[in-house]
Symmetry: C2
């Protein structure tokens, strides 16, 4: 289980396959995000039909509602959400920090308190107090039961000082080691097979990033992730950091760059030898009436679509493009009809899968 094989290579770019308990993932792969146990608007069969191989779910949200123990009682995340393919859960770290950074309660109290052994935070739902430690996060992710689970990390804002970035990184290192230990303990007690991926941090500081890469690579886990990028910094900086990291990553393990999901970013990531990426963008844009197309983003509300019999993208072969005109989709979006949001989300995810497949073909065509 969790073997990664490189099947083709061209420059730094590569194709591969990664074996998980719920099926083998062909990489590079875009992973749609199912925040609360549903890739928004999409049925599992539709995801499979458009080529989704693995989906994400969010530990933070599922821990708060319906609760990881509830999911466990109901047979785990796969059964709960009727998805029998691979699933990856994030660690909740990103949400704990990003949903509360800089915010304070009415009494002026900080909503997130970082301590050596973990993070105290308040729920975005009801303000209730919670405490995440590496041990706690591993328990939650084991309860959820995804194929790939992420180590608990601190993801500081892009603009953090070097001093703070270093502290956060070192905490993330200690937490990753604790996660590994706890994960191995839990694995021994369970029949489930789950792969733990650590997350490289270090903000926009190359030397910290290299330290973090070395530390995480040395943990020798089945895969490795790059976190804390594409969080507001200029893209030039993003790729500079990735370029610094790449040569120091283990060659024979899948590399996951977190939060990447525009057609352009996906191409840049694949070119550099990234194997996995995720983003909420395709479904979020869908909800706001925007479609990816080979000529850039299309905003359906524009009057110019009112009488258009064209599909969203004449080159796209998805269900939406084969069956619906821009005029009808615009009408649905203007009327806030659920079918419109669904059809756009489906197209946007399918579009990203197509982008990945085109890049794959280039790697295979030697």
């Amino acid at each position: 289980m969790f073997e990664f094989k490189i099947t083709a290579q061209k420059g730094d770019a590569r194709t591969g396959s990664f074996k998980t308990p719920h099926g083998t993932i062909e990489t590079p792969v875009f992973m749609p995000v199912g925040t609360k146990g549903t890739v928004k608007t999409m049925m599992p069969e539709e995801l499979k039909q458009i080529g989704s191989q693995i989906i994400l779910a969010n530990t933070y949200h599922l821990y708060l509602r319906p609760g990881d123990k509830t999911v466990a009682v109901l047979g785990g995340l796969h059964k709960f959400m009727n998805w029998d393919g691979p699933i990856l859960t994030d660690s909740g770290g990103y949400q704990v920090f990003s949903l509360a950074h800089g915010t304070k309660s009415k009494s002026g109290e900080k909503l997130v308190k970082i301590k050596e052994n973990g993070v105290e935070f308040r729920s975005i739902l009801d303000g209730s107090k919670h405490f995440f430690t590496p041990k706690k996060v591993m328990e939650i992710e084991h309860n959820l039961g995804a194929d790939i689970i992420m180590a608990f990390d601190e993801c500081p804002p892009a603009i953090s000082s070097k001093k703070y970035a270093k502290e956060a990184m070192e905490r993330t290192h200690r937490w990753a080691a604790q996660c590994k230990k706890e994960h191995e303990k839990l694995l021994r007690k369970s029949e489930k097979k789950q792969a733990l991926f650590p997350i490289i941090q270090g903000c926009m500081y190359e030397d910290l990033r290299l330290q973090s890469t070395k530390f995480m690579a040395d943990l020798d886990l089945p895969g490795i992730a790059i976190g804390g990028l594409a969080v507001g910094e200029p893209r030039k900086t993003t790729w500079k950091i990735v370029d610094a990291i790449i040569p120091h990553l283990p060659k024979n393990k899948p590399r996951y760059m977190m939060g990447i999901g525009t057609p352009e970013d996906i191409k840049e990531a694949i070119k550099r030898g990234i194997d996995m990426f995720d983003c909420v963008l395709p479904t979020r844009l869908g909800r706001h009436g925007t479609a990816f197309t080979s000529k850039g983003n299309l905003h359906l509300e524009n009057e110019s679509n009112k009488l258009s019999k064209k599909p969203l993208d004449p080159k796209c072969g998805c269900y939406t493009c084969k069956n619906y005109t821009r005029a009808y989709l615009r009408h649905l979006i203007m009327e806030k009809e659920i079918l419109g949001i669904h059809l756009l989300s489906l197209h946007n995810i399918a579009f990203l899968h197509t982008v990945v497949n085109e890049e794959k073909k280039k790697i295979l065509r030697k």
Copy 2:
């Protein structure tokens, strides 16, 4: 075209088939409502898969947005919404009155002004002034291009005085005759085939209902509808009126009772020899987290569903019931996830089709 054949009979109940340009409808039939050119949340293929034969669309809403002329330019309603089966459009009469009855503009002006030749009303969208006449409504319905189109009618509130009910009924009679004339004129200019159905009115007054039945039957159109029932009056009254009307309806034409859509009402209607009915209820209940079941309505938000691994209805064979637990559906509804609304709407429509099919079997089992 538009031949109606009775295929079996048991008491007053009957099964039949009605031929339309987009396929033959097997009756009795429940028709899901696609108000704005979409049966809320549902893809056309899903509707077919659960057994929907014909769907409704609303003239009032489509006239306001995107506009009937826009729909015509885009190839008509079937092409616009990607539904190649039969469609029925209502006349807009019900919405013109029900969306504005008793309401007044800021300056105290009535929002609906009834005149001999038609109705002046203000759009619920932007307050703009519009005037519907029988001629205008026929033009709109011809632009939309449904298989079955309804005559323009006035649908007064259930509590109307006899004087008002009589006036409204007589107006509706004159308007139906004008619709027929205009429809025939438009048909001669067109290649499309459309069937016009008149609507029996007369509020809760049996003598008026009988007058109206005779008048509408004498128009000798391909089908006939009963309107203005199930609009707030007790069900006992509803069925008393229907019982008075039935013996005077032409036997060999499809009978459409408007606005009927609970499992109980459907059974009552079929028993009396009604062939067609429609209602927004299955999708509306779906949006509010309620499911039809063989044991009555199930409200998913109830805590008792939190850990339930049962399907909505163990006797139901729909996609939702085959693949999802109450616990997951409850989670989706609590989180206001679109997939939850979609899965519930699908189940509710499928459930009503099953109710109809069970009744059909009883008629066929002699």
